[in-house]
């Protein structure tokens, strides 16, 4: 049941969209819409976040994927949502390139049924990372991972970002 008193802001900003009148090019449309939030205690969200972080640092991707709902929308990769495969595509690639990958936490932010891991990734270049052959150099980079929790305490949305350029600069010795 949607809590009509709670709204999430949703907006779309248009900027010089082709063929649009000038006035509309400078327009901004944003509106609120009700979100069927799952009511979950902050402490429970924190516990789920801790469990997820522990799974990643144990390199147990199967356990991490088990925390995702079968209908989880993977919002990270280009193209169609890839559901649970997003974990393999992101952390699988990183673990292949950096077998000693480790996540440290700057802060875990919680807002309702969503949590944000604002952290750092540490590792050593021992495998191919994009077009970079392994160099043995270490790196520290920033990462953000965001989940929305649904009513079975599983994750229904996943977002992932990390500073890939910072890794490339570190392992290639160019910055």
């Amino acid at each position: 049941m949607a809590d009509e008193s709670k709204y999430k802001i949703f907006w779309k900003l248009t900027q010089t969209e082709p063929n649009a009148p000038f006035a509309e090019q400078r327009g901004i449309n944003y509106h609120a819409y009700p979100v069927d939030d799952y009511q979950i205690a902050r402490a429970d969200v924190q516990a789920l976040a801790n469990q997820y972080i522990a799974n990643i640092n144990a390199h147990n991707l199967d356990a991490a994927k088990a925390m995702l709902d079968d209908q989880c929308k993977e919002m990270t990769m280009p193209g169609e949502p890839v559901t649970k495969a997003g974990i393999d595509m992101t952390y699988g690639m990183l673990l292949n390139a950096f077998p000693d990958l480790n996540m440290t936490i700057i802060q875990v932010l919680i807002d309702g049924d969503m949590f944000v891991i604002n952290g750092e990734l540490h590792g050593t270049s021992q495998g191919q990372f994009y077009d970079n052959a392994p160099t043995g150099r270490s790196f520290v980079t920033y990462m953000i991972e965001i989940f929305k929790i649904t009513n079975n305490n599983k994750f229904i949305e996943r977002y992932f970002w990390y500073d890939a350029m910072k890794i490339v600069r570190a392992i290639t010795g160019t910055g």
Partner: protein, 432 residues
């Protein structure tokens, strides 16, 4: 002061409506503190605020239209989390040196912004840069790069092959071979080894066990289409059994050539020639051959040198020897480098013995070395070792051993019967 979640969200919305949408980057400092801690500056070597301005400016120039979808604006304490997507089209100015491709993109944009008051004080996150490169045709992260020619890829593979063997990283070594790799030359003597990739791995593992400090060097790389020739040299200490030969603790050197066919970024098949006989000779398992050089040519070099020196042409040393030739003289404990020492010694002899002459009595060739039994003679007409000329005709003997490389003497050992010479000069008395 933005203290409630909705007030913090309002700061972000105002930032977009007054700075990002109208592209008024000049007023960005209204929203960003001068001492902002920017953890994800896309442009380095620049102040945080300037870096954000520069990056957004590049984006705006390259992407004439942009569309922001904000899925969530989360707030926790002083921090606000922007969970959004950006859509656009690469049809404006070139970006990172790449001309516009006309391709559209949709990429995630996640940002954590701390807003303790009304301005951004700390920031993490940004756009999915690899996703942007992949979708819009930017040659970054290995996406959309112009195709490399085989030689460049093969050079990388060859470097990986050599570097990984030197580091003992067998997995990286095997990574250069396709899974279906066929080795047409199984390791000589390796009766238990076949010709699959797994067998190649066993051979490399055995080499690493036999020579734990093994080091390889890529001496030459030839690429013609998909045909590859790698000429390598290697060396290592024989610390483990090598084809059943117990460790000798000898430092062994060898050369080898690998012929390979390159396909789909890996080596698909190949054969190799390794100087195993040379290895066994150095281990002392089989005898060395009597000579491995063009002895007639090397003998001629010595004969020509002796003839020239007998004519007083000391520059002949430079023709017969390399510039950094090493001399081991019995009278000098440390080796001497360069022909100047030979010229100095011969100059002194010619000054003391005006008709100084060398005669080659015999030559013995072994491997890359030639030993000469020498007879020296001359009239003692000038001071020698402090003894004025006596007018006597003296003669004495000696042996030189020369080591050759590429037709020139690179090292010379000299032993001369100076005792007899100095006795004849009168510096040493005769005994008995």
């Amino acid at each position: 002061m933005a203290s409630t979640p909705e007030e913090k969200r309002a700061v972000i919305i105002e930032y977009f409506t007054t700075v990002v949408i109208p592209r008024h980057l000049d007023i960005i400092t209204k929203f960003i503190r001068d001492d902002v801690k920017e953890h994800s500056a896309p442009i380095i070597n620049m102040g945080a605020v300037e870096a954000v301005q520069a990056f957004l400016g590049m984006m705006f120039d390259a992407y004439p239209w942009l569309w922001y979808d904000c899925n969530h604006l989360l707030v926790d304490g002083d921090c606000l989390v922007l969970v959004s997507f950006i859509e656009g089209e690469f049809s404006g100015n070139p970006l990172f040196g790449t001309p516009p491709t006309g391709k559209k993109f949709r990429i995630p944009n996640l940002e954590v912004i701390c807003i303790p008051e009304n301005k951004f004080a700390e920031h993490w996150g940004g756009i999915d840069l690899p996703g942007l490169a992949y979708q819009t045709g930017l040659p970054m992260f290995g996406f959309n790069a112009p195709p490399k020619d085989n030689k460049e890829i093969v050079q990388q593979l060859a470097n990986q092959y050599i570097d990984s063997m030197n580091k003992g990283d067998i997995d990286m070594t095997m990574d250069v071979f396709a899974d279906s790799f066929i080795d047409h030359q199984t390791v000589p003597g390796g009766a238990t080894l076949g010709n699959t990739k797994a067998d190649v791995r066993k051979a490399h593992e055995m080499l690493a066990t036999s020579f734990p400090d093994v080091q390889f060097k890529l001496e030459d790389l030839l690429v013609d289409g998909n045909q590859v020739v790698m000429r390598v040299s290697g060396n290592g200490t024989h610390k483990g059994a090598f084809f059943g030969i117990p460790p000798t603790n000898k430092h062994i050197q060898w050369t080898g050539v690998r012929l390979l066919r390159f396909e789909d970024g890996k080596f698909a098949e190949g054969t190799s020639e390794l100087d195993q006989v040379g290895i066994l000779q150095q281990m002392g398992i089989i005898p060395s051959p009597p000579s491995m050089i063009d002895t007639e040519g090397e003998k001629a070099v010595i004969e020509k040198l002796v003839t020239a020196l007998n004519e007083g042409n000391l520059d002949a040393f430079d023709d017969a020897m390399t510039a950094d030739v090493i001399f081991h003289l019995e009278s000098n404990p440390a080796p001497l480098k360069g022909t100047k020492w030979a010229k100095m010694e011969d100059g002194m002899l010619h000054a003391a013995f005006h008709d100084f002459t060398r005669i080659i009595e015999s030559m013995t060739v072994t491997g890359d070395r030639i030993a000469c039994q020498m007879h020296y003679k001359g009239t003692h007409s000038g001071p020698y070792m402090g003894i004025p000329g006596t007018g006597k005709v003296l003669d004495w003997s000696g042996v030189t051993i020369d080591r050759f490389e590429d037709g020139k003497i690179v090292e010379r050992w000299v032993n001369i019967d100076r005792f007899t010479l100095l006795q004849q000069v009168g510096l040493i008395p005769s005994f008995g």
